[in-house]
Symmetry: C2
Subunit: 650 residues, 2 copies
């Protein structure tokens, strides 16, 4: 492959990989705020204490008059309604009892069309990309909203199923109750059905058993005495369910001897906390002239930045057309065409019956955006934040509004952007400081127990930083043990005994980002700058060694599969070889992976095949509009035949 | 070595290692603030625009009434005066014309004494640790301030000299002007002497030439037309000076054909900036009830934290006796006895004559605290910050005040400490969020061109985070080239052409922290938790592999030398084996190195011998009061015979 073929390229980078191995946990997080706050103050804490219940706004009053202004604007409420109308009158859907829309999102116009488009131009034809299941068959369709035309899209033959609908998930949690054996098992474990909380757990793919049938595993907890049911697993009980028919296929209970951990002390809610803990006074961000950013539809402008922002049911947040203003020419310069969370891979490290299959793909299986709950104003985001709603389609195609799904705010932590003082050596009277203010785009996805906080942060010096915060509650395992002195030294608990009868199971979180970098235009190259030790010749220098930077432009996709090496390090640059700085260096951006961890699972292990995008920390592939999801388009029960690793090897 | 011997241990960890390889630089950092701010607002920007000149307070009005309250409180002004009096009447100093005090700091009482001491108790005897040079000989002395007794301290035979005094540095920059050849050279390069700015550059040790004589190299710049003389090197000109006699030993000028880069566009001061750049409105942190921390002398109390804070001329900031309140027992629990920046190692990667020796040890050679300039209120630290002065002794022993050297403030960036929402799967109406507020202790050391911002951040969940920000200005190299099209492909520039005639030379910054962890008491062990792939047996599980955590308690110092391995990873725990959690796990802290880079220099290269503490990312050694400085007590011109690597091998 020639470097020219890499001219339009995508970077998939594994920004964060966390290995959680908890020695002890203090749930809940100590509350930093005092309870006797003067709530005339517009501060985070005040808001939590006295939050007037938000009136549920009827959907008709919201977003009904939205119209798209930009080729990348997400489908509006009325467009979603129109898509549903078109589909229901289509032969595929007409006269069928069973259908579900697993995804209805904007079919983005071709990149060249978007790049050519300017404000004032007419919008390109508005189209929807639809993933539907009709009578047990998956269809990918393109719906022209203007003409009503429905075109099947050939995405090739892939194993796997589309992202679950919210209805798939909620119905799965109730379906086992219709089963007599399940009810008997629950009663045998001493649980009152009214205290039951169940979770739909994607079961991955391990062979024949997970093929040709859309399945899910359901595990349950006791809510008795606590809202924090996650801490009260009915350990060892797993129900296998057919997601299409809701039929119970199998019930396993291998945990009869494992007590359900106690409820005492597990409730994390502020309202039930003992407030006798260390407290801090109210604190907030003050902007006497208001914030400096402007949100116009889905276009965000701040300082020297401009970008398009949209909520997405699968990715959560999509940043497009990010451009930064050149301080000299005053022109906007392209930086990134599109960036988003491509996939999450969360393998647990317990090979036993009730745990081995827990190898989640949170975006492709559950929908990272579908799980992004409304942000809590003043607590999730500071004062002066702007909140953007998500407008999505339910399984039946009827649109709904996920309010306050994304927030945009200016952040100032008291930090320094740049400074220089002259030291006593020179004695010059110089103290120059530029405080650091950034713009943050935030969402928080609550994928059952875990809460992922994803921040896209923009700096005035041109840097884009993606930060992922991991919060929420651990997914724990029940155990008969109440103290480590009961545990034989050779026994593998697969985790840490956190409290009586509770084990925190070892697991990883890998988050992979899709970054379509267009630095000063779409023709970019990927450069590995390898840092090599050079040895000096005798008498050349009093130094024996020094480091040299060796630039290597990636010529093949193989070249652009990066396994980080601690002792043979490189920097990674995305450059535009046709644009030079004043002194003749290619213009570019440096890619700095935030996490350096790698998956250590066997490459042939089914979960690792499905999560093969974690085999490298960085992959660069030529632009292909259909290759956006690192775990494949149809991740659910996929066999790993459509991952980034497969495309890259092709 | 038995694990018991490791009971009191130190952790030296290489928190940050940055490899700077700049493709382009936009100096200065774009200013985020508007210029037409309403300055009734107490915001960062306002302060920069109209800062009334601070009246220089006469030293007598400051700190003259300070008295120590805690065994670790730094020497007060009157104590420093007393130490000087005592020394000047001592036989060693009496009747000598030539002496300099390179360090006068508190001789800390033994750890056991400090741990026993309680408020209300009498202070242990106040003593000063003095490093003096008298007639060319280095002396380490212990001065009892109460009794006036002066005791020589045997620190063994080491190569190297003490940290330079400020007077050493400033006099070195002027000394060459007394040399005729130097003046001729300067004139030959077309520089008016009035435009000359020179820097004292520690020359390391490379063999005989740097032995038995306290030397320094001086390099100069032109200030003509800019305060940013760093951008205008008189390339290739190096003066070797005897630091004791100020005698010019050698003048090398290998840069006659290298033009001095232009001044245009280099001035970074806000007052001369073209303000037509993107602007943001004023922003600050608001605390209507004021901050929640209390500073009582040198003791800081905030939320559940309490610690002792002192400015130090070598380390910058020392945090001692850090304790966190147990939310259940309400008792203070020990976390860290002492933590500070032990050494910085900044090797440049250019083996040529004027650059090979640039392998700085900023703490041991220049004094990280001595170089910490007054912080600029509202710009370096936010509103409501508390500022602590440093009280140090000059070379002649006369005390002086470094005002506003350290600041303490509460930080709130709009971020989330902990959150959990229930997802649509369970449908429970839960949105719990705890905003994140932290306490920050900050200093900024301006070691000539670079500004290091060191933050010790305390979280309410018990975490301590050390952050290092690198700011300021690059140290650049002159070159005849003005465009990369003039450069032969095989030529090694040892860096990047940044602007016309200016190369940014490749270099590293390694910062090593000393952390004396006392988790729940001084008897701690160091545990490596190795993450290993386990393979399942046939039929054991549908999974082929999973990860297992294997705990290894370090038994020898060798065990506790950690080279991070990306594909054979470990976690690092400091545990108290005699204190268990309720369920029987040892209580501990996890050490997470912030940077994973390693030095790639040849182990036998003289700079790497001196900076051998960068051979590993973590070292754990048994407690030894005298082993605090990773590059050795006498770092200047040291031969690497007293480094952390040597102690650890012993």
């Amino acid at each position: 492959m020639d470097a020219r073929i890499l001219i339009r390229f995508l970077v998939f980078t594994c920004i964060i990989a966390l290995l959680l191995l908890l020695t002890f946990t203090n749930l809940p997080y100590p509350l930093p705020f005092t309870t006797n706050t003067n709530c005339s103050v517009d501060s985070p804490r005040c808001n939590t204490i006295k939050k007037p219940p938000k009136p549920k706004q009827p959907i008709n009053n919201l977003h009904t008059s939205d119209v798209p202004h930009h080729p990348l604007d997400p489908l509006t409420l009325s467009e979603l309604n129109k898509v549903r109308e078109i589909l229901l009158s289509n032969t595929l859907f007409r006269n069928t009892g069973k259908y579900a829309l697993h995804s209805v999102v904007l079919e983005e116009p071709d990149k060249s069309v978007v790049l050519r488009w300017k404000y004032g131009d007419e919008l390109p034809a508005r189209k929807a990309s639809v993933i539907a299941r009709v009578n047990g068959v998956t269809h990918v369709l393109c719906v022209d909203i203007g003409t009503g035309e429905v075109t099947p899209v050939d995405v090739g033959e892939h194993s796997g199923y589309p992202t679950m609908t919210i209805e798939d998930m909620t119905s799965a949690t109730w379906a086992p109750l219709g089963n007599l054996e399940f009810n008997r098992t629950i009663m045998a474990r001493g649980i009152d059905v009214k205290d039951l909380a169940c979770l739909p757990i994607s079961l991955g793919w391990f062979g024949k058993k997970e093929e040709n049938r859309r399945l899910i595993k359901v595990q349950c907890y006791s809510m008795e005495g606590t809202v924090n049911f996650y801490m009260r697993p009915i350990e060892g009980l797993t129900v296998v369910l057919d997601m299409d028919t809701k039929e119970v296929i199998e019930i396993n209970d291998n945990g009869k001897n494992i007590p359900i951990p106690k409820a005492a002390g597990t409730d994390y809610r502020f309202s039930v906390q003992n407030a006798k803990i260390n407290l801090v006074n109210p604190i907030s961000i003050e902007q006497p002239k208001g914030p400096s950013f402007v949100v116009d539809g889905h276009l965000v402008k701040w300082a020297n930045w401009e970008f398009h922002l949209k909520p997405d049911p699968r990715a959560g947040v999509v940043i497009s057309r990010a451009m930064v203003r050149d301080p000299n020419s005053r022109e906007m310069r392209n930086v990134m065409y599109k960036g988003f969370t491509s996939e999450l891979f969360v393998p647990y490290m317990d090979p036993t019956d009730a745990w081995y299959f827990k190898t989640y793909m949170d975006a492709g299986e559950y929908g990272f955006g579908l799980q992004a709950m409304p942000l809590d104003p003043l607590n999730d985001c500071p004062r002066n934040a702007y909140y953007m709603d998500g407008v999505f389609a339910a399984g039946d195609g009827i649109p709904y509004v996920r309010s306050n799904m994304v927030c945009v705010f200016e952040s100032y932590a008291g930090d320094i952007g740049w400074r220089h003082s002259e030291s006593p050596i020179t004695g010059m009277e110089i103290r120059e400081v530029r405080p650091k203010v950034t713009l943050v785009v935030r969402m928080a996805a609550s994928v059952a127990n875990y809460d992922y906080i994803v921040d896209w942060e923009f700096q005035t010096d041109g840097l884009i930083r993606v930060k992922v915060g991991l919060s929420g509650i651990l997914m724990v395992k029940g155990t008969p043990y109440i103290n480590m002195n009961q545990v034989n030294e050779v026994e593998n608990l697969h985790g840490t005994l956190l409290s009586e009868n509770v084990i925190g199971v070892i697991h990883d979180h890998y988050i992979t980002f899709y970054l379509d970098m267009d630095v000063d235009g779409p023709d970019n190259s990927f450069v590995k700058v390898n840092i090599k030790r050079e040895t000096t010749a005798p008498e050349e220098s009093p130094r024996l060694s020094y480091l040299k930077a060796v630039r290597n432009v990636a010529k093949t996709e193989k070249d652009a599969q990066v396994k980080l090496k601690l002792y043979d390090p490189s920097e990674y640059h995305m450059v535009n070889p046709s644009k030079k700085t004043r002194v003749g260096n290619p213009v570019g951006y440096k890619l700095v992976p935030g996490g350096t961890a790698a998956s250590l699972l066997d490459l042939n292990d089914p979960p690792q095949k499905r999560g093969a995008f974690t085999n490298n920390q960085i992959w660069v592939t030529p632009y292909n509009k259909s290759e956006e999801w690192a775990g494949g388009l149809f991740t659910y029960q996929s066999q790993g035949d459509d991952t980034l690793a497969v495309w890259s090897e092709r």
